[in-house]
């Protein structure tokens, strides 16, 4: 029985019950669909010829000049060999700065370095193993992740090459190629790729004086406020590398303050999200390419796996406040997990999810989640409710929301076609949160019902129920009939017992009590006169008698026939007891 109810509830909560969606009280009523069509966004600017190639986590909105005019900073990826990627800064809708980057950038962050100097944040761009820091749009500092250990054999090969000029090249190269290609340093990989002996000789003579080094490129970054939650307070950059290392850097000196690995097993981080403060307590949520989502907290040297997703992770966002982890996967699923990794709900999208974006709305004291979908639309969710749809023609590849220029609520959308689109949230947009709450009570339930855990006992019981359903039903019916029979018998018994001391027509009952056994016996005889089940009168007569047989008559005045007659047999007085 319970198992069936449980199945029903699960269906309702997690798959969305078709019956519920059709009910008029539901959120998806026609009225609300019309509401969704009224745009809450102002179309500020669109440039279809920007030809940008920018992915999620590659654009930030920051006050990079310290004048209160927030600018859009993004990296424009160029994947062709002859073109260099670029770092671009937009003031409003106008491109004001454009500089080349040495390598293909993986991610970009912006943070304040200290409390004391002028309030100008720096820009951090991850290019290969380097974190390039720009201040005032100029290169300022470079942090290189610590090198990885080199294979012992590779080390000895390069030692031999540098010490002995007449070494047998072929055998040395054979030694090198015996090491798995993946674990070689880039220099050795290049050496093995060279064809002619002349090239090889040149290459060796060029590089033999220095030790080979192997670096893991930075895959993703984020920032974590150091000691206060203030917007302009210093924040530590957090970087994750291809080798699974996580570094938390000091915002002033750019030296690692804490080093950890993403997970006990090999997992390559692809998205980092941090909450809290470095000096107090923090949580870093790491989405890995292997599909796991790990958690790293203050003092931990190793992340703990929270969630194992079934499909590849596209993007994750941690909602501030309740720390829910919103996960988008390649199987078109948007999933919501608690901070402990318990799944709350999921929603299947009609098309692929390309990017996610957090939309904090402090004036409405809530945060929305923007979900960029293939085809061009962006759906905005509050919790699990769809509150707005932004319709577009091109698939968004990256979305950012925040202050731009003087305007606080700007959404910047970069599409896969390279267009850049600025939208401004209307001041009057309220997303009908109040109506939503009232109309969608069944779906509003973000907390799951407190279902008991599926214990072994429960599973066995439900299995038995399924196998012996007919027997169990018959047994239950038989027991029920027996119970009814017993009850009926008892009733008949009661009635036959009462007939001697009661008169059903007059509704009078007698009962005798002997409260104390003593030589002067006191009998208490109660006469109950009932009228239609209600007790009307309650007379108590006390009389003293020493006789063993007692006859009691209840008579009406001026009537000879008693209404009730009773004979009470007293128990023999126990003299020994009395003495």
């Amino acid at each position: 029985m319970i198992s069936i109810i449980r199945k029903f509830i699960r269906n309702d909560l997690f798959q969305g019950c078709p019956n519920l969606i059709a009910t008029p009280l539901n959120f998806f009523t026609p009225v609300n669909i019309i509401d969704l069509n009224i745009s809450r966004w102002l179309e500020a600017h669109i440039d279809r010829s920007a030809s940008l190639t920018t992915f999620s986590k590659n654009l930030v909105l920051a006050d990079v000049c310290g004048d209160g005019e927030y600018r859009l900073v993004l990296t424009d990826l160029k994947l062709e060999n002859n073109e260099k990627s670029r770092l671009k800064i937009y003031k409003g809708t106008v491109l004001t700065s454009d500089q080349t980057l040495p390598d293909i950038p993986s991610s970009i962050i912006s943070f304040y370095t200290s409390n004391y100097d002028s309030k100008i944040p720096v820009i951090g761009v991850a290019c290969g193993p380097d974190l390039l820091i720009y201040k005032n749009s100029k290169p300022y500092f470079k942090f290189v992740v610590p090198p990885l250990p080199i294979e012992a054999l590779e080390h000895s090969v390069w030692n031999r090459l540098s010490e002995d000029p007449n070494i047998d090249l072929q055998s040395t190269l054979d030694d090198l190629s015996s090491i798995p290609y993946k674990s070689l340093s880039p220099r050795s990989q290049k050496l093995l790729g060279l064809q002619t002996p002349l090239e090889i000789k040149d290459f060796i003579s060029k590089y033999k004086s220095s030790e080979p080094k192997k670096f893991a490129p930075i895959t993703c970054m984020t920032t974590l406020n150091r000691s206060t939650q203030d917007k302009q307070s210093p924040a530590c950059p957090i970087i994750a590398t291809e080798a699974g290392q996580i570094f938390i850097l000091d915002p002033q000196t750019f030296t690692p303050m804490h080093e950890a690995i993403s997970c006990a097993t090999k997992a390559i981080p692809c998205v980092l999200q941090a909450a809290g403060m470095y000096d107090v307590e923090f949580r870093i949520v790491i989405a890995c390419r292997e599909g796991s989502i790990c958690l790293l907290r203050r003092g931990w040297l190793e992340g703990k796996v929270l969630i194992q997703a079934t499909a590849n992770i596209v993007d994750i966002v941690v909602i501030p406040g309740d720390h829910f982890i919103m996960t988008a996967t390649t199987d078109r699923m948007l999933q919501c997990y608690t901070k402990r990794g318990n799944k709350l709900w999921n929603q299947k999208m009609n098309t692929d999810i390309t990017c996610l974006c957090l939309i904090p709305l402090s004036h409405l004291s809530t945060s929305l989640l923007g979900v960029g979908l293939r085809g061009g639309s962006i759906q905005l969710f509050q919790g699990r409710h769809l509150v707005d749809i932004i319709v577009g023609t091109e698939t968004p590849s990256a979305i950012a929301f925040g202050q731009l220029g003087q305007e606080e609520h700007v959404m910047v959308i970069i599409t896969t076609g390279g267009a850049i689109n600025f939208k401004i949230l209307k001041r009057t947009a309220d997303f009908n949160f109040g109506d939503g709450e009232m109309n969608s009570n069944p779906i509003q339930q973000t907390k799951p019902l407190p279902l008991p855990k599926r214990s072994k006992l429960f599973l066995e019981q439900s299995m038995r129920e399924r196998q012996n359903a007919v027997d169990m039903h018959q047994l239950f019916q038989k027991d029920l009939i027996r119970l009814r029979l017993t009850a009926a018998r008892a009733t008949v018994q009661m009635q036959s017992n009462q007939s001697s001391i009661g008169n059903e027509q007059e509704l009078v009952k007698l009962s005798a009590q002997v409260p104390l056994i003593s030589p002067n016996l006191t009998y208490k005889i109660e006469t109950k006169v009932q009228e239609k089940d209600a007790l009307v009168e309650d007379n108590q007569d006390s009389l003293q008698d020493s006789k063993r047989l007692l006859r009691v008559f209840v008579v009406r005045k001026r009537e000879a026939k008693p209404i009730v007659a009773a004979t009470i047999n007293m128990p023999p007085t126990d003299l020994s007891f009395l003495l």
Binding site: A44, E407, R427
Partner: protein, 192 residues
């Protein structure tokens, strides 16, 4: 206007007090515009002008008309306040930052909200637009601003747009003179 009336105005006998509402987005230069019209002893140093919180009330005179200007804050969270002052004002000064191309749509949105408001929509209230910050490099011309805001669609109210530079005071006097004229007409018509 007859000779006698003119004389009366000149002598300041028939002095009128009017309320004008100064609105526009934050950082468009409303306070700087008002600051220009104030007496020399009340003027604030231009570098010391800070974003207005809520609103401030300033008084100045132009052509014997005593203006009480309600300098509203343009910040998003204070824009709700504007509509409470629509009822009692005789003219509106709408300051637009002509260099802020991104927010021109926001200006249009706010203007539409203003024009649709019941306290404004059925009155012939004059609206003066300042296309401010004309000295900026990326500033749009007042014609372009007028086109972007769709001012040509305002049929039932007198409006005027003048390019201005509130820092130097350029264009401000011209605009306010137009507004003074319009308010005078508005008040005379209303009294008739």
């Amino acid at each position: 206007m007859g000779l006698f009336q003119k004389l009366a105005f000149f002598l300041g006998i028939k002095r009128k007090e009017v309320n004008v509402l100064v609105i526009g987005l934050n950082n468009s230069g409303k306070t700087t515009v008002i600051n220009h019209f104030k007496n020399d002893e009340e003027k604030v140093e231009k570098t010391e002008i800070v974003p207005t919180v809520g609103f401030s009330v300033e008084k100045f005179q132009n052509q014997n008309l005593a203006f009480t200007a309600f300098d509203m804050s343009g910040h998003g969270r204070y824009r709700d306040l504007w509509e409470h002052y629509y009822k009692d004002c005789h003219g509106i000064i709408f300051v637009v930052d002509s260099s802020d191309r991104l927010r021109l749509v926001v200006v249009k949105d706010e203007l539409d909200l203003l024009l649709q408001h019941p306290d404004v929509s059925n009155r012939r209230i004059p609206i003066l637009f300042f296309s401010n910050k004309m000295d900026c490099k990326e500033a749009l011309s007042s014609v372009k601003i007028a086109a972007a805001l769709g001012l040509d669609k305002i049929m039932d109210k007198p409006w005027h747009i003048s390019a201005s530079n509130a820092l130097s005071g350029e264009g401000l006097q011209e605009g306010v003179e137009w507004l003074t004229q319009q308010i005078r007409e508005y008040i005379t018509n209303k009294n008739l």
